[in-house]
């Protein structure tokens, strides 16, 4: 009888390769089926204008409650909307800047929902036929492993529509009531609806930043997220590539770019975990303020606005029909001609003019005022722009970020930095000494570079005899290192140079020092 052996099955060589292969397959398939996030943004940009969209009351950020409210804004009976020409021009300019098709005829609708800060019970908007459709926003961000590669991406814009803002509600939980301030009710908004082309928080934040820069350059919106001038709602879902889109949730009440990226990534993570556990994502609105406004437009009733005829936009004066005065008409050719330099064009111009790398021009345009600072410095120095850029994006920006200052609050004005760089260019100080001087200029604003150089005796030492003496001293006191250099280890030479620089407090001309040391150690 055969003895039954309790031998654990140990796979033989061919079996191992089979197991390995199937493991690889499983890994490959699971990588293919990785859940990815899908992000679509809906952005409300408050139009920068003197008066509201349909009434003549003023638009201001802070004002006594209900002091900027007209009878129409309070939706008293017998009032009618009268469209503001500036708001139309703002929407059309934004559409042109984002490569949209401008609808020559657009129509206003009423979107009905009940909420205390919407006194009329409806909002006048342009759901069906808005003023601009089918645009594209090209945005860039610094990616790659070292975060220094400019990656360009596109997000498609479904439509841009004009609509009214609602009032503000303050929740008084103590007395179980809501206080309504209608100052904001009726202010003109541009709603930008984007296609869900993005996949993570970083991309969304970069897209919004680019939009902010564009709107600020156009002057159509000041884009201040913390003041509510730019409000972003993100629709987030997860799915496996190739499969249909998953259920989406809406993330609202985001008032900074950083928070936007974090909230979106958090939501993608949360949904991924839910799906991986086998659960179902609920279609809901996730906000940190539970008393945010009503749910999305699927639960609102729409009807055409009966008090407003269609909005007509014309190509040029020649195409104006009889009876329409030029002063009354919005002309595309005039607006197109009046578009200012957009951020992407500006970045390209900087690269062309100064020979900068794309990532540098990206940083210059991204930081408010930095490009102007850089150009002002360039005016005052003949130094190579590629060397100046390092000063601006590293030294200056580094210190500004450390102390949380904006460029306009920099203690060192562009002219002073230019002066310092000129001195360096002329050979009066070494680069390490220049950095020290810069630090000192930062600490004591108003002190000019030459003064500091003189005070701290940081002028470049290029006196031959002096340098020889110091180098000799270093060589004599470090025989081991000298021997190492003689035997071929060049790196030790740098150590010797460092020692010399320490002796001279960084004032020695590095080129000369190297030459002398090489002579002495050869």
């Amino acid at each position: 009888m055969k003895k039954r052996c309790n031998v654990h099955y140990f796979p033989s060589a061919p079996d191992i390769s089979v197991i390995h292969f199937s493991l690889v397959c499983v890994w490959y398939l699971s990588a293919l089926q990785q859940l990815v996030g899908v992000v679509g943004l809906e952005i409300h940009a408050q139009i920068s204008s003197n008066t509201k969209l349909f009434s003549g009351s003023s638009v201001q950020f802070l004002a006594p409650p209900n002091s900027l409210v007209s009878f129409f804004d309070a939706s008293l009976p017998g009032t009618l909307p009268v469209l503001n020409k500036r708001c139309v021009e703002a929407a059309v300019m934004t559409g042109l800047a984002l490569n949209c098709t401008i609808n020559k005829k657009s129509v206003f609708d009423r979107k009905h929902y009940f909420y205390a800060d919407l006194p009329a019970g409806y909002q006048i908007t342009q759901q069906c036929r808005p003023v601009a459709v089918d645009g594209v926003l090209t945005y860039s961000f610094l990616g790659g492993r070292k975060r220094n590669q400019v990656m360009r991406k596109n997000v498609y814009i479904k439509q841009i529509q004009l609509e009214q803002d609602s009032g503000k509600s303050l929740h008084d939980d103590v007395n179980s009531q809501t206080l309504i301030d209608l100052n904001r009710a009726g202010v003109g908004l541009m709603e930008l609806v984007m296609e869900p082309n993005m996949s993570c928080g970083e991309e969304a934040a970069a897209a919004v930043r680019e939009l902010q820069l564009i709107l600020q350059a156009l002057g159509t919106c000041q884009g201040n997220m913390s003041e509510g001038q730019l409000r972003v709602d993100a629709n987030v879902s997860v799915h496996r590539p190739g499969e249909p889109l998953g259920t989406r949730t809406e993330v609202k009440n985001i008032n900074s770019l950083r928070y936007l990226a974090r909230a979106i990534d958090f939501e993608i993570q949360r949904q991924t975990e839910v799906v991986q556990r086998g659960g179902a994502v609920l279609n809901e609105t996730r906000a940190y303020d539970s008393k945010s406004g009503p749910s999305p437009s699927t639960s609102c009733r729409f009807m055409p606005e009966p008090n407003l005829p269609p909005l007509l936009v014309f190509e040029d004066e020649a195409s104006l029909p009889a009876g329409v005065e030029a002063g009354q008409a919005v002309l595309l050719c005039t607006l197109r001609a009046g578009l200012p330099e957009l951020p992407s064009v500006r970045r390209d111009r900087l690269v062309q003019t100064y020979g900068l790398l794309p990532e540098h021009s990206f940083t210059l345009v991204n930081e408010d005022g930095l490009m102007e600072y850089f150009e002002a410095v360039m005016k005052g120095t003949s130094r190579d722009p590629r060397k100046v850029i390092g000063w601006v994006t590293n030294e200056l920006l580094g210190l500004l970020k450390q102390q949380d200052l904006s460029v306009s609050h920099s203690p060192v004005p562009p002219a002073a930095l230019a002066e310092l760089l000129e001195l360096q260019e002329a050979g009066r100080i070494s680069s390490s000494a220049a950095k020290q001087v810069f630090q000192e200029m930062w600490r004591s604003p108003g002190k000019a570079a030459p003064q500091i150089i003189q005070e701290r005796d940081l002028g470049l030492v290029s006196d031959d005899a002096d340098l020889h003496r110091i180098c000799q001293k270093v060589v004599d006191s470090h025989p081991d290192e000298v021997r190492a250099v003689r035997s071929g280890n060049q790196k030790v030479l740098n150590k010797l140079m460092g020692l010399v620089q320490k002796e001279t407090k960084g004032r020695a001309d590095p080129v000369l020092v190297r030459k002398i040391l090489q002579e002495k150690t050869s």
Binding site: L68, V107, Q177, I180, P306, Q328
Partner: protein, 185 residues
């Protein structure tokens, strides 16, 4: 005979009340006696009470005819879910038998629009679509009337209007059916 008496009374009454020219009324009264159709009788009784002359653009007899059922699409049935959704959107209670019948009749009435042939006709939202939309200058002309506006509200707190807290959600369908059953409707 009684008809003649009725007209005479009307004539007297109308002359006293309205003081309209006598011969005009006389014409109307005599035209009634000539025609003697029930519909025109009703409209002619009313007309002596009106102070305006008969507008020639208004037809003297109704010109419409009821549309046969075959020409209309299927009558719409409204499911309970839709009733619930509409009640939430419009904040109107209409789920009683009477309310639903009224809604169905209204939809049936609107179905008459399907009979009209609109092929080749551009859709229109309003008859004023060809008017120019007036564009206003961006200068401040109104506002600064907080006091006047606040006076219109029942409750105010320090220049703010007062509203109930948040949006009070409607109870679920079953709960609301129970509420309605117990109400007076």
């Amino acid at each position: 005979m009684t008809k003649m008496l009725a007209f005479q009374t009307l004539r007297v009454v109308s002359l006293e009340i309205l003081g309209s020219p006598c011969n005009l009324l006389a014409n109307n009264v005599y035209s009634i006696t000539k025609r003697c159709s029930l519909i025109s009788l009703q409209s002619q009784i009313l007309r002596p009470l009106s102070s305006h002359q008969h507008n020639p653009k208004v037809p003297k007899v109704p010109t419409w005819e009821p549309v046969p059922e075959e020409q209309l699409p299927q009558p719409t049935k409204i499911p309970a879910d839709l009733v619930d959704k509409l009640e939430r959107l419009a904040l109107v209670d209409f789920r009683t038998k009477q309310g639903l019948e009224c809604l169905e009749k209204a939809i049936r009435f609107a179905d008459l629009l399907h009979v009209v042939d609109t092929s080749g006709v551009e859709p229109m939202d309003s008859v004023l679509e060809d008017r120019a939309l007036y564009l206003r200058d961006d200068t401040v002309t109104e506002g600064d009337c907080a006091e006047e506006l606040l006076k219109l509200a029942k409750d105010t707190v320090e220049e703010y209007f007062v509203a109930p807290p948040g949006n009070i959600p409607l109870p679920k369908r079953e709960e609301r059916a129970a509420i309605l059953r117990h109400s007076e409707f």
